[in-house]
Symmetry: C2
Subunit: 143 residues, 2 copies
């Protein structure tokens, strides 16, 4: 449903939401030790998000990744769609041909409901909602 890559990306963004802003950028090096995602791999994912304007980055000294106020308004779904592509979530749970959200199959009745809800959560949850009221990354979990 969600690829590992998407999960990694969300973790990374979560870290950024809690530990960065325009005046305080962070390097991948700082992130990966906390969220336990392979450094180079996380870098790739964040670059991808940056390229799609979901997060921000600048190069060079004092550079790094960060979230602008605007960035924080992006939803989890946007992150997932950049990383996994549009199709992965939308396609039929059972991998049935000609069967999608608009044209649900019989099995859809069984399992599709949960999935639609799941997507709706991703769609309606902004990054800033995630960290609302949280002080630091520790409040989340051992990532």
């Amino acid at each position: 449903m969600l690829s590992n890559s998407s999960k990694y990306a969300i973790k990374g963004v979560l870290y950024l939401a809690l530990n960065s802003n325009r005046d305080h950028k962070v390097m991948v090096r700082d992130i990966y030790t906390v969220v336990h995602v392979p450094e180079a791999y996380l870098a790739k994912l964040l670059q991808e998000l940056s390229r799609h304007g979901i997060i921000s980055s600048t190069r060079g000294p004092k550079g790094g990744f960060y979230l602008s106020e605007e960035d924080r308004k992006h939803t989890l779904l946007e992150i997932v769609q950049v990383i996994d592509g549009e199709n992965r979530l939308n396609s039929c749970v059972m991998g049935i041909r000609n069967c999608d959200m608009d044209n649900p199959c019989v099995l859809h009745k069984l399992v599709g409901g949960n999935k639609s809800k799941f997507i709706r959560v991703l769609e309606s949850t902004k990054i800033l909602d995630l960290v609302d009221g949280k002080q630091g990354i520790e409040e989340f979990f051992p990532l």
Copy 2:
């Protein structure tokens, strides 16, 4: 969440539920053309299910795969667990360490609910429930 293999397996079993019984066994050859799963691959999956006692099979002429009355009482979850292993479904949605159903993380509140429900559906849906009232495989979908 569900691997392709699991989906394939479910499709195959669904076919068996609708088209087989102790006195009418079917060959992989008959199944794969309908459910659109590669023949040899489907064979492997059904063999695996057979080995685990989820479905039945006999070799030789007039042999094939089939579902006994007992077989039909198995749940979708059992199929998935044979194919994907116990861990895939149970592990944390976000892939977070030390985080599972018993020890849910903060993100769990967000997305975990849907997943638990999904698992519960798989757990409570027996094969016979799936085909209850259905006449033939056509009623399901273009698999």
